[in-house]
């Protein structure tokens, strides 16, 4: 008979089994992300910046009945990133990376030459309790309006994203109606992860509300709580490298679903923004869909156009650091084949460790094309004026 385990000492409630913390692992700096490139001189619009509330901050915006609810940690614990998850410079003492509005403004507007930034807070990804997710989205929107789009936005350079829980369409539509008239919000945001493809009928009211208000739908990998389908259709890649490279295939799956589900035919004003890569996978996949569209279109008679015909009108991708050829000699050719002049937007993904720095982004592209990607495409999509580059944060 074995001895009884020693009694747990009072107060010792949390043991960190994860080893090194993300803060200790983070070595990549903002300076390193620029890769030695000089400022572009363009009034860059950064279409993917991820602010986060400080600890406890979000709870203040939740109804009292929800305030005692413990929230999941998120942070993709099942695929730990060996380099930490955030830029070294973005770690702060009193909150998670991305929680300091003044620091973010300094990094982006002063050090990176960004003129305007579209803020897309994440919302802990999918949760099994969809009411909880809807509450988190609602609290996130109120928090953003009250802080980063409020007192922290005296410079007026922050724009916001209305977070909604698409698997709770009634709540999502209510949230869109609640904020659509707020001048700071320029799009709605949903997680990339989903238990159903986004062309499914169940989501239609959400897209309809977004299109009605002229708000693009921003789809971005979100917090990764593990309540989601396996990252590949054959299960789990073993390591973070494979996971990160493969993950944007989900965007392509959603895109195909939007098309064959007839969503783009029914909602001509709907704009989709795939916020976290996938641009490089799009063109080859669309070629595949185009090939047999005509003989098979009778299966989905609501889809009245060739798949490739929808892209320029409806679809934008945010550029990702992993994409495209290393060789500058073929960069422009690749961008031309992929129709980057119409469909690609710059987004840094700040404060993520793999931030695409605007100094380095498409530095080898033809100047007119680079301007479209870094400024004009986002300005047109969000109805923003392209601000002069020299303007500094006030």
């Amino acid at each position: 008979m074995s001895a009884a385990p020693p009694a747990r000492p009072e107060g010792a409630v949390s043991v960190d089994l994860t080893g090194l913390s993300a803060a200790a692992l983070a070595t990549k700096t903002l300076h390193a992300a620029a890769q030695g490139h000089a400022a572009s001189g363009l009034p860059v619009i950064d279409a993917a910046v991820h602010p986060r509330p400080r600890p406890g901050e979000l709870h203040r915006y939740m109804p009292k009945v929800w305030q005692q609810r413990r929230l999941p940690a998120g942070e993709r614990y099942y695929y730990p990133n060996p380099l930490g998850d955030y830029l070294k410079d973005a770690h702060v003492a009193d909150g998670p990376p991305g929680s300091d509005a003044a620091l973010t403004a300094r990094h982006l507007f002063e050090e990176c030459g960004v003129a305007q930034a579209v803020l897309a807070p994440l919302t802990l990804g999918l949760l099994p309790d969809l009411d909880l997710l809807a509450v988190i989205c609602s609290a996130t929107n109120e928090w953003l309006a009250d802080t980063w789009l409020g007192p922290h936005n005296a410079h007026g350079r922050f724009k916001g994203t209305i977070r909604v829980a698409p698997n709770h369409p009634e709540a999502a539509v209510a949230e869109i109606e609640r904020w659509a008239g707020h001048p700071g919000f320029v799009q709605i945001g949903v997680p990339m992860q989903s238990m159903q493809l986004y062309g499914s009928r169940v989501f239609h009211p959400v897209w309809e509300a977004a299109a009605h208000h002229g708000l693009p739908v921003f789809i971005h990998a979100d917090a990764e709580t593990g309540v989601e389908l396996a990252p590949t259709t054959a299960g789990y890649l073993r390591h973070f490298l494979g996971f990160a490279a493969y993950q944007p295939m989900t965007f392509i799956s959603h895109l195909a679903s939007f098309m064959v589900g007839g969503v783009l035919d029914r909602l001509p004003r709907l704009r989709l923004v795939f916020g976290d890569g996938g641009f490089d996978m799009c063109a080859p996949f669309i070629w595949r869909l185009d090939k047999d569209y005509r003989p098979m279109r009778g299966d989905m008679p609501w889809m009245m156009r060739l798949p490739s015909d929808y892209i320029a009108q409806h679809v934008r991708f945010i550029a990702h650091r992993l994409e495209g050829p290393e060789d500058p000699a073929i960069l422009n050719e690749w961008l031309a084949i992929s129709d980057a002049a119409e469909t690609l937007l710059f987004g840094s993904n700040y404060p993520a460790w793999n931030m695409l720095h605007p100094h380095a982004a498409f530095a080898g592209a033809a100047p007119a094309l680079r301007r479209r990607i870094l400024v004009d495409n986002a300005a047109a999509l969000y109805g923003l004026a392209a601000a002069p580059a020299e303007e500094t944060v006030s």
Binding site: R201, G262, D265, R294, P295, P301, W302, R305
Partner: protein, 130 residues
């Protein structure tokens, strides 16, 4: 019609019927009677050159934009035998991109005979609603 070829007696072509023949023993054509109108096309698909006029004649599955589907243009959709592009007759245009069309030939009824010319006509682009 000058330079026309007699294809058949007009009575030989029933409503919804077709005749595939060669003008002067050379140019393969399909002659159709659709909605009482006799039309002729080169037997050559604009996609990849299949003998399109030999495809099946049926309807197209269309939608009003919701999730319902119904059959439209029944008996007027010619489906190419190679890759199933759907041509709406009598216009001869594909229903997905009307600018892709079969090459239409002039037809005249002379002395009870169907006469087909070998020089294509360009019909006005029709409005295709599905």
């Amino acid at each position: 019609m000058r330079d026309g070829y007699v294809v058949c007696d007009v009575d030989a072509l029933a409503e919804g019927g077709r005749i595939i023949t060669r003008l002067g023993g050379q140019i393969s054509v399909g002659v159709f009677k659709i909605d009482g109108q006799v039309v002729a096309f080169r037997n050559y698909c604009p996609h990849a050159g299949a003998p399109a006029c030999e495809g099946t004649l049926g309807g197209a599955v269309v939608s009003d934009g919701g999730h319902e589907r119904h059959l439209a243009h029944d008996g007027r959709i010619l489906k190419c035998p190679w890759h199933a592009w759907e041509f709406l007759l009598p216009e001869g245009v594909t229903i997905t991109r009307p600018e892709y069309r079969l090459m239409r030939l002039p037809v005249a009824i002379e002395d009870g005979k169907v006469v087909v010319g070998s020089h294509p006509v360009r019909p006005p682009r029709p409005q295709v609603s599905a």
